[in-house]
């Protein structure tokens, strides 16, 4: 809920102009509106209106200020299956996003809607998700995928981190285990009696208390 923007919400609800800042803003609006009005856009509130309203015909006062014109949503646009496919395919506009994220986030992009239409057409033509992904890979190259296929050199991408961690863990375990095995023989302490000194119950209780206090 946009309750964190009470000033703007109040404007939508039509409160009057109050305060110096709003007054100045309204004056600026009077100056600005004609300049940013889209070419050919002649409908809407009278020029200079401080709080433009949509016209009675449902048209926006400044369509150009509301972003690129949109086409109505089709059933395929909200399909979960198509979303999952598009999330595996990269948009080519340079945004580094997948097709779904780009077309539903960057509404200035013209590439992702085109690629989306291509996915929908293939899907509606009966292609499976795998086939659509393969089609994109064949048509646009491997960079069309959001993650490289786990084959050939790409296997290194997937498995090197895991192998490195397992290897390091194994080496660590081996080295420590080896040292543990060798430690008693390698470092005999002649000053110590063969039996470790007994810990009295009192000493242990005192130690436990001390550790409870300070151990971290």
């Amino acid at each position: 809920m946009r309750s964190e923007r009470p000033r703007e919400t109040r404007r939508i609800q039509g409160s009057g102009i109050t305060g110096r800042r709003r007054f100045i803003g309204s004056l600026a609006a009077m100056a600005v509106m004609p300049l940013v009005q889209a070419p050919g856009d002649t409908t809407g509130a009278p020029a200079g209106s401080a709080r433009p309203r949509p016209g009675d015909d449902g048209r926006l006062y400044l369509p150009g200020a509301a972003g690129r014109p949109r086409t109505p949503t089709r059933p395929g646009d909200a399909s979960e299956e198509i979303k999952l496919i598009e999330q595996k395919l990269a948009c080519h506009c340079g945004c580094t996003l997948d097709i779904f994220t780009c077309r539903t986030t960057d509404f200035t992009c013209t590439t992702s809607p085109r690629l989306h239409a291509e996915v929908v057409a293939l899907y509606e033509g009966g292609a499976s998700g795998r086939e659509i992904i393969d089609h994109f890979k064949a048509a646009y190259g491997e960079q069309a995928l959001m993650a490289p296929e786990p084959e050939g050199f790409n296997l290194a991408g997937y498995f090197v981190p895991g192998i490195a961690i397992v290897l390091m863990g194994s080496v660590l375990t081996w080295v420590v285990s080896r040292r543990l095995r060798l430690a008693p023989a390698a470092v005999p302490d002649p000053t110590q009696a063969s039996e470790p000194a007994a810990v009295t119950a009192e000493a242990e209780a005192r130690l436990r208390q001390a550790l409870a206090e300070v151990e971290d």
Binding site: E8, L60, P69, V199
Partner: protein
């Protein structure tokens, strides 16, 4: 003012090079006055660079559009808060901001370091001076923030609309503070190596600095997630973008260091490893800067591609060679004082915790650089996006989460089977109960279920630790539960603050798991039409389009699309998403219209509304509506993380005397765990 600012940069460079030269020559060792001059140079540098930053700020606030930086990132109608934030909005200004903050930290390090660590300070001043000199060289020779243009435009280009968010005023500074403050622990580590004082003294000197760095990085990363969520409009908060990854890398290695340093302090082990971690963290912070500024890897966050990347690459390589050569030169003196006694011990658990953290860091680094590697090997630049990172890193993250619960349960030195049984029963049962509850509730996403169950296990561990501590205090001192809890935490801040951080990590993981149950749809609605969406918690939300209003704000024209929202028939109010067309002082559009999402957040789920645009210039609007479960908990996790970190680093508490291992029988140590 620009002349003054630029003069201050040159003066700072001379002072920094002079300080570095004095330290390198070593003459301060024979002359106490010279040592004092070296230390005090940090304060002078701070003063000079503060004047330089103020000069740029004055240029920004006065709208001096003859300065190329001011014209590129500000405009006359830019709100005041963003004028202040414009200092770090662009490459050149952010470099200046970085430099001035580093000089401030360097001066604070000289000022606040206790007397018994003073012997390290000239070396520390030398290292910070070298790093400062590098940044000053980059600014003066490749990215001068005071560069003037041949003409003065009537107005500036303005700030990118996506940066015009309150997050701009706090997220970049937080992240920069995290990155920058890493230099201080690194400087102390180098000082210890150069001076040959390799006892735990330098660790005590940097304890708070490492926590400060880690806290700033944590807060910066979480704020970045929040900003991405509320501003970018894609409905998520982490996309494994190279720049996001670059911030995570030093955080991971710093977290590893915060754990492994305890082993060095308590047992005199892992000295080499700790030095490598600190050096690695510093290098990763520079690497992150290189990634962000070089344009070598495509990212939605990157600054424009520029030649400063080469400067950072060279500095990165030189710093890496210097650091590791220095550690190598002291290698024989960095032997552990004792050996690990058992693979089933707290020390071993910390080792594996470090392995997991550094392994994840390596994995993230590998994925980030893999496109470059692929291009080098195969000539094909591939995309490595979220599917790749999730596949590789989610299992590693879950392993780390498990270790978060396991580590505190294992005794120092050596744990017996009886000890393990006693310690693990409650946490394991908690985890199993959580697993059953989550499965019975209908959750079927494998990773999400495991994450939540492991979260239960870790919470069981933390609750057990707190419970035992409180009971022990109750028995020994006759304190009530709340008093015992307060004293337990206040007397063992590091330990129990750490547990609070573990709770925060659990909250993060559970919240991340929640996104597996996200629901979303797209709809085109005329005023009065509705769309319904079922939430994973079983509610049905109805969104009714009310219409689109347009109005003028300070530097933009806003198109606000409003939705009446109800849950199971009960009215919840109005949700508004906007399109903002930013304009300059003359009313000319400056950027493409940007989108502001509408969010209604509660403990269970967020309603996320995106106004995509209108059909043929009418009030018929295209919306994307999403229900994002548990997002509120991500921010709660961030709060907990910072709170736990503050508890850990808060001054006071008790002084922990380091017990030498031979004095403690293993059985007794086990009992105290």
């Amino acid at each position: 003012m620009t002349l003054l600012g630029e003069a201050m940069l040159w003066l700072s460079l001379l002072i920094a090079l002079g300080t570095a030269g004095l330290v390198a020559a070593g003459s301060w060792k024979r002359d106490a006055a010279l040592a004092s001059v070296v230390r005090r140079s940090a304060h002078v540098l701070c003063g000079c660079l503060a004047v330089a930053a103020l000069s740029l700020w004055v240029g920004i606030v006065r709208h001096d559009f003859n300065i190329e930086y001011v014209a590129s990132y500000t405009a006359q109608n830019l709100p005041t808060g963003y004028l202040v934030a414009a200092l770090w909005a662009g490459q050149k200004g952010s470099l200046l901001f970085w430099t001035v903050v580093l000089s401030l930290f360097a001066a604070l390090a000289q000022w606040l370091t206790p007397r018994h660590h003073r012997h390290l300070l000239p070396h520390v001043a030398g290292v910070t001076a070298v790093v400062l000199a590098f940044f000053l060289i980059v600014m003066l020779f490749a990215a001068n923030p005071f560069e003037r243009m041949a003409f003065t435009p009537a107005d500036g280009r303005g700030m990118n609309p996506q940066l015009q968010n309150p997050g701009m005023m706090i997220h970049p500074p937080m992240l920069y503070l995290g990155y920058i403050s890493i230099t201080i622990p690194f400087a102390f580590a180098v000082a210890a190596l150069l001076s040959g004082r390799l006892d735990t003294g330098w660790l005590h000197a940097i304890r708070r600095w490492t926590l400060v760095s880690w806290l700033f990085l944590s807060a910066g990363i979480t704020l970045g997630m929040w900003w991405a969520y509320v501003e970018l409009g894609w409905g998520g908060y982490w996309a494994w973008d190279p720049v996001e990854n670059a911030s995570l890398l030093p955080w991971l290695t710093m977290t590893a260091f915060l754990h492994s340093v305890m082993i060095q302090e308590k047992r005199g082990m892992l000295k080499r490893w700790n030095l490598m971690l600190i050096a690695g963290t510093f290098l990763l912070s520079i690497f992150g800067t290189f990634i962000t500024r070089s344009g070598v890897i495509a990212s939605v966050h990157s600054f424009t591609q520029s030649n400063v990347g080469y400067f950072f690459l060279v500095f990165l390589l030189l710093a890496a060679i210097f650091s590791f050569a220095l550690i190598w030169s002291r290698w024989p003196r960095l032997e552990s004082e004792v050996e690990l006694e058992s693979m089933v011990s707290r020390e071993a658990a910390f080792l594996f915790n470090n392995l997991a953290l550094v392994g994840i860091a390596f994995s993230v680094l590998w994925g980030t650089l893999f496109p470059i590697l692929s291009e080098l090997v195969r000539g094909t630049k591939i995309t490595v996006g979220p599917p790749f990172f999730n596949r590789v890193n989610v299992p590693l993250g879950l392993f780390l989460l498990a270790l978060t619960g396991i580590g505190p349960l294992i005794a120092w030195r050596k744990a017996s089977a009886a000890n393990l049984r006693r310690q693990f029963v409650i946490p394991v049962l908690t985890g199993l109960v959580t697993l059953v509850v989550v499965v019975l509730a209908g959750a079927r996403d494998g990773y999400a279920v495991v994450a939540i169950a492991l979260g239960g296990f870790v919470l069981g561990t933390v609750a057990q630790e707190f419970g035992r501590g409180v009971r022990a205090r109750g028995r020994m001192h006759g304190e009530g539960v709340m008093l015992a809890l307060a004293r337990l935490v206040s007397r063992n801040r590091r330990r129990y603050g750490g547990y609070l951080v573990h709770v925060a990590i659990v909250i993060y993981f559970v919240a991340f798991a929640g996104m597996a149950f996200k629901r979303e749809t797209e709809a085109t609605l005329k005023p009065g039409q509705s769309v319904e969406l079922a939430s994973p918690f079983g509610h049905t939300y109805t969104f009714t389009h009310m219409g689109v209003s347009q109005y003028q704000a300070l530097n933009r024209i806003v198109s606000a699309a409003a939705m009446q929202v109800s849950r199971d028939g009960r009215d919840l109010g109005i949700l508004v998403s906007e399109k903002r067309q930013h304009v300059d002082t003359f009313g000319r559009p400056t950027f493409e219209p940007s989108t502001e999402v509408g969010i209604r957040s509660d403990l269970r789920e967020d309603l996320y509304l995106v106004y995509a645009g209108s059909v043929e210039g009418t009030e018929e609007a295209v919306y994307r509506v999403a229900i994002n479960p548990l997002v509120w908990w991500v921010w709660a996790g961030g709060f907990f993380l910072v709170f736990g970190g503050l508890v850990t680093m808060w001054p006071g508490g008790i002084t922990v005397k380091v017990a030498r291992p031979a004095a403690l029988p293993a059985r007794a140590a086990e009992a105290g765990a």
